[in-house]
């Protein structure tokens, strides 16, 4: 089969994602979806749908290779690709239009998701609630801000979130909305839990079993909340759900530079001290009461439902790529 070259604009976007010129889960996802649309529009190969699909697959592969660990990226790409295959367009015009439509659809979905999460989640917040949040999650803050705008009287505790103090950004955002917010050290989450009646955090990745990968410290909070019978809500757009985990892939936890915690001088002066700085931890589903997605509020154990509904064919593709023999059997 002929390989059609990938347009320069698509390569440029791929490069921008790779060099982190484009960053943030949502922005990466939208850029990738847009790149596929551009690829479809710029297609100059033969009038053969099969060739066109192979060409889009090729562009997708280039984009996928930019950031192998971010889950939003493969999800954006697979959103387009799997639906394209599923629809089996009969001619080129239909195929091109379909990619454009799917790409637009994904971008719109990603843009509106946080807003919808805010609306859905805010229904769970009552006047008088005391909410604890960790790190700085746009989706979690969307829930709090929506509830506040509905006139609900809420008090928020925000952890400072070492090492990078993302809690300060959370404080600033909430204060600018006129919300009562108190900053606490990460070590005080169990102490404060008896004053709290809801925990709302974001997610980096949601695994197939409903486990949530999020900023380090999230699982401390979820456990302390569980002990105190305080409800834990995770606000997560569906593109944060990881199809790869369905086939048993593990979510890799990034360990970052120790100099985020201590300075160079400290490391030099203390050769016997190792400083370890994992960026994320995993909260097991049993400590999560619900995941608030733009599609609705689900128990974490129902993550599989979202994965199958949103990314069903991706999962099948993963199976085929991992276990070719099994894929052939199914054909």
């Amino acid at each position: 089969m002929v390989k059609i070259k990938c347009p320069i604009e698509v390569l440029q976007i791929a490069n921008d994602i790779k060099t982190m010129k484009i960053r943030g889960a949502g922005r990466i996802a939208r850029a990738a979806a847009k790149a596929l649309k551009i690829a479809a529009e710029k297609y100059e190969g033969p009038d053969d749908v099969e060739v066109f699909i192979a060409y889009i697959d090729h562009a997708a592969k280039i984009l996928l290779e930019t950031r192998p660990t971010a889950v939003s990226l493969p999800n954006a790409i697979m959103y387009v690709i799997t639906r394209l295959r599923r629809k089996r367009p009969i001619n080129m015009a239909e195929a091109k239009a379909l990619v454009a439509k799917l790409s637009n659809e994904f971008i719109k979905y990603s843009l509106t998701a946080t807003e919808e999460i805010g609306i859905i989640g805010s229904r769970r917040i009552l006047s008088g609630d005391v909410v604890l949040t960790h790190c700085n999650s746009t989706a979690a803050l969307s829930v709090i801000i929506h509830a506040h705008k509905q006139g609900k009287d809420i008090k928020v505790y925000a952890t400072e979130t070492r090492p990078k103090f993302q809690g300060h950004i959370t404080v600033r955002t909430l204060l600018s909305e006129g919300i009562d917010v108190t900053l606490i050290p990460d070590s005080a989450v169990r102490y404060i839990m008896k004053k709290v009646n809801k925990v709302i955090v974001g997610a980096d990745t949601v695994a197939a079993n409903g486990a949530v990968v999020n900023k380090i410290g999230t699982s401390n909070i979820a456990l302390a909340a569980h002990e105190a019978r305080v409800r834990v809500f995770v606000a997560a757009e569906t593109y944060k759900f990881s199809p790869a985990t369905v086939i048993g892939e593990l979510v890799e936890i990034e360990e970052r530079d120790p100099r985020e915690i201590v300075d160079e001088k400290y490391l030099k002066e203390n050769p016997n001290v190792t400083v370890r700085n994992p960026a994320f931890d995993i909260t097991p589903p049993e400590y999560i009461d619900a995941i608030i997605t733009e599609e609705g509020l689900i128990p974490p154990q129902a993550a599989y439902l979202i994965l199958i509904e949103k990314f069903g064919w991706i999962i099948q593709d993963y199976f085929i790529s991992k276990y070719p023999s099994r894929g052939e059997d199914e054909e």
């Binding site: 404080v171 108190t182 070590s187 005080a188 404060i192 915690i261």
Partner: protein, 332 residues
């Protein structure tokens, strides 16, 4: 330096977390008492100085059981001084001897606890701890002397970042130390075999008051079926709690986590809540290592009885004793 200045410097050091361990807090209080005792020009002076130091320090650290218990002993001497109308130099000697005796007891206790605690460590252990505990560090030192091969995970321990200092000191002993964030406790607990923590106070029901974050660590250890050991001398037993007294948790000043310039940037309306201690419920404590041996937290009242050689216990409020002494001297 005038007495008032000496006392206010001590108080400032406590509030601003320059004194990290509760044993050190007591030692620094003793030093101040010693200086002021020597400076006192009359019995009146001696009584006022001593009661002033004690009441000011307890006001800012009402949770420190060792401080309260030692103060009670010192006040008993003062009571005797006033009651028996001792001469000034006799009185000074009595107070100084008491301070020396208590100091010796604290040192001996740490030594015995360290010996017992070190027995609990075996080669291959990965021990997690938090905050600055003189006693826990001594346990590690002893175990190291016994050539046990183990390593220690220490949390940063905000506010105050005690963990950075502990990691550094343990590292210098030649111990393999890993410094982690407070947030990373649960992440690393699966690699850990034991948790060792120090204490500010042990309540009658076996609850342990320790640096904030300790109760989170104990909960996380409990979840992971990791044993939690508390190193605490019986001087840290909080006898008042037998009578149902609740322990009030002191808070650190805002600047300990939020420097002024950061506050300006994120918004002046932000509030902070920075407890310096929290309470570990007895169900998350596997054993308390005292100078009398290892006991279950639920057996604390028993040990309290043995230490005081009395039941029901008697623990008069320190402020009541101070009032009584001051009244006696005014009437005298």
């Amino acid at each position: 330096m005038p007495s008032k200045v000496i006392v206010s410097k001590l108080i400032q050091d406590i509030i601003s977390w320059n004194i990290r361990s509760s044993t050190e807090l007591v030692e620094r209080t003793f030093e101040t008492l010693e200086t002021l005792t020597k400076k006192s020009a009359s019995i009146n002076d001696l009584v006022l100085n001593t009661t002033h130091v004690i009441s000011e320090v307890i006001k800012v650290r009402p949770t420190s059981a060792m401080l309260i218990n030692c103060s009670r002993d010192i006040l008993a001497v003062l009571n005797k001084v006033v009651g028996e109308r001792l001469k000034l130099d006799e009185s000074k000697t009595a107070i100084l001897n008491k301070l020396m005796e208590l100091r010796q007891k604290i040192t001996d206790d740490i030594e015995r606890i360290a010996t017992i605690g070190a027995n609990r460590i075996v080669s291959g252990d990965k021990i997690m701890t938090s905050a600055y505990s003189r006693t826990v560090m001594k346990i590690f030192e002893k175990a190291l002397e016994q050539n046990k091969k183990f390593e220690v995970y220490i949390t940063e321990s905000r506010p105050g970042d005690d963990g950075k200092i502990v990691a550094s000191e343990l590292g210098k002993l030649g111990l393999k130390v890993t410094l982690i964030l407070d947030s990373a406790m649960r992440y690393f607990m699966k690699y850990v075999t034991k948790v060792f923590l120090g204490a500010e106070a042990v309540a009658a029901n076996g609850a342990v008051i320790s640096k904030v974050g300790s109760s989170l660590m104990a909960l996380i250890a409990h979840e992971a079926r990791v044993r939690v050991f508390i190193a605490a001398s019986t001087l840290k037993f909080n006898y008042e709690t037998v009578f149902g007294e609740l322990v009030k948790i002191p808070h650190a000043p805002e600047e300990t986590i939020l420097p002024k310039e950061v506050k300006q940037k994120i918004g002046e309306l932000v509030k902070t809540e920075i407890p310096i201690l929290d309470v570990i419920p007895p169900e998350y404590v596997d054993a308390i290592i005292t100078e009398y041996g290892v006991i279950a937290p639920q057996a604390i009242p028993l040990l309290m009885r043995d230490v005081l050689r009395a039941w029901p216990l008697q623990a008069t409020d320190v402020y009541v004793v101070i009032d009584r002494i001051l009244k006696a001297i005014n009437n005298g």
